[in-house]
Amino acid sequence: MMILSGDPPRSRILTLVLVVIILALAATPFLFPGAKALNVAAKICVFAALVASYDLLLGYTGSVSFAHTMFYGIGSYAIAIALYGMGPNWAAVATGIVVGLPLAALLALAIGLFSLRVAAIFFAMITLAVASAFQVLASQLSWLTGGEDGRSFQLPELLRPGTVLISKNLFGFEINGRILTFYLVFSISALMILALLRVVNSPFGRVLQAIRENRFRAEALGFRTVFHLTYANCLAALVAASAGILNALWLRYAGPDTSLSFSIMLDILLMVVIGGMGTIYGAIIGATIFILAQNYLQSLMGVASKAASEAGLPLLPGLLHPDRWLLWLGLLFIASVYFFPTGVVGRLRNPAGKSAGSPH
């Protein structure tokens, strides 16, 4: 109970779903052999942590930030540039972490001090502007970031797929560097989510919720709301940058499309909304549903689009084309804000549809 910080899932179905997801993720290398399944599982782990950190902002303080991918990108690029420049060794990994994390925290501090002391609505617009400027910088400074192509790099010896730790004839499964990397991603993500659970259920987390519900009252109670909001912003940025590091380590690559683009920001928003704002558990569920859908529905859309064009239907092939995946995502997004403001977790905790726990 201590590790869940006195905030257990509070619903039998929810507990069951979470246990199934976590066990399935933990056992992916053995249950679902093949590179694709392992990739999907690693992506779910990374995004669950990233989405949980975003939920700290959106769900617990009620401030919409569009700069979360910027911090994610800072982490990714820091480790990628370090490993690219210094060669595949552990010193480079350490350099990437030591440079990337403080950089993200400092930037979050600056943005927070700038925009959080004014109106909450400013925050959304300013983060959007700063994030887009950062994106332009990342694609223009090609000597550093590799421009649109991004940076590919080698991992240290221990984490490479070729490194066999336990050979196949011992247990029937080969444990190689790739699987070791997966467990590194899995366990660090899990630790970050547990830490975030601890944070939101601490007195600090209660203050954040108080600010979300009524900033004036929180201020009147004597809490310095700007301090708390900025602190939450920095924490979220740190976790996002760490998730970015994990993602870059897994992909052995960092580029605008995998770590900075606006569509990732939308993915994160959608995962928070589907899972349930203001519940860290929602991040795990939202990320799992979304990434499974993204990886397996897009091929289904391709089939449907082909069938529609063969049937000679107008417009439908275009609308069902796999590249138009974002269109359906947008519709789903609007529908879930409108019909399920509390997300999956909110629904499972309050099946009667009482919206007691919904933010706003």
Partner: protein
């Protein structure tokens, strides 16, 4: 007791002149930096024209926020839709566009612009009814809903028109420039300046000098009271939203002609630009938005001329500088 007699005129609020002087001062400072007067004049004219176009696009956003307290993150969609709709008229009449007669060109351009405004206005009606009506007064949900709307609109444009860039040539008579002495001023920029100025004056007159404007402003101050007087404030606000969307459509057409191309992702860059303008001006302030648009355009043009590398992030630097001076924008709208 104050010594005001009943016959005394009401004390007028003090005019805040500093923001108005800012672009003037900026322009004057640039003369020695740029060196040649003729290129300075060309750059200044370019900034004014670009600023007016940005103002037209941003005015709708700030109008809707200032009057209805709705933050529309999907505002960029109206801009892109307006630009695409104009191609529907301009493509079949390519011959009249290429004809070297101002009147023939305008005879095609005007309907194209009007159709764009009509379609984006109508889209505004749908968006207000479907997306914004359920979330009035909830900023968080407004942002989420309209962001979703932006994605859907952009992807629908891709599905309908395809991902390629559509060229949109300037009419023959608007190409080239007037030569005054040794200064060249592009003809289209003059047109853009005129339209922008007309829109600015029209908005100011309607809001400050007509009964309609009075009702809108009263509705912002105290909605229930205006409703109790028998006015349908909901319809009035719907009209405001549609006007804002139509203005975005007009701005989209003008911007597409300026760049001579249309692309569905044009809304992405423009959304950021108009957000910066609206933040600089002070959310909800039309005058601030006007000055902000001109400032952003000046920084882009002068900056691009003097230090091309800096132009990429000059907007952000300008925003940071303005917010350090006035944390709520040039003209803070007090009721928010």
């Amino acid at each position: 007791m104050t010594d005001l007699a009943a016959t005394d005129p009401l004390p007028k609020p003090k005019r805040d002149l500093a923001p108005i002087l800012l672009p003037v001062a900026l322009a004057l400072v640039m003369i020695p930096l740029i060196g040649s007067t003729s290129s300075w004049l060309t750059l200044t004219a370019a900034s004014l024209a670009m600023g007016m176009m940005i103002f037209i696009m941003a005015s709708g956003l700030t109008l809707v926020f200032g009057l209805m307290d709705v933050l529309n993150f999907g505002h960029g969609a109206f801009i892109a839709v307006g630009a695409y709709v104009a191609t529907l008229v301009l493509a079949p009449f390519a011959a009249s566009i290429q004809a070297d007669s101002l009147w023939m060109n305008l005879a095609v351009l005007a309907p194209a612009a009007l159709l764009s405004m009509a379609v984006s206005g109508a889209l505004g009606l749908v968006v207000e009814r479907v997306l914004i009506l359920p979330v009035y007064g909830q900023h968080l949900k407004q942002i989420l809903m309209t962001t979703g709307g932006l994605i859907v609109a952009e992807q629908t444009l891709y599905a309908l028109w395809g991902p390629q860039i559509i060229p949109m040539p300037l009419p023959a008579s608007l190409r080239g420039s007037f030569i005054l002495g040794d200064v060249a001023i592009a003809k289209y920029r003059v047109l853009a300046m005129l339209i922008g100025l007309a829109v600015f004056i029209a908005i100011q007159l309607v809001l400050n000098r007509t009964k309609l404007g009075l009702l809108i402003r009263a509705g912002v101050e105290n909605r229930e009271m205006v409703e109790a007087l028998g006015y349908r404030i909901r319809r009035l606000f719907l009209g405001v939203f549609m006007t804002g969307s139509a203005l975005a459509g007009l701005g989209g057409v003008m911007w597409a002609l300026y760049r001579e191309q249309v692309h569905a992702s044009m809304s992405d860059d423009l959304t950021v630009l108009i957000f910066i303008v609206v933040i600089i001006g002070g959310l909800g302030s039309i005058g601030g938005c006007f000055i902000g648009a001109i400032l952003v355009a000046m920084i882009a043009n002068y900056g691009g001329f003097l230090v091309p590398k800096l132009a990429l992030v000059s907007n952000i630097l300008l925003m940071v500088a303005i917010l350090m001076w006035r944390p709520r924008g040039l003209y803070a709208v007090t009721s928010r």
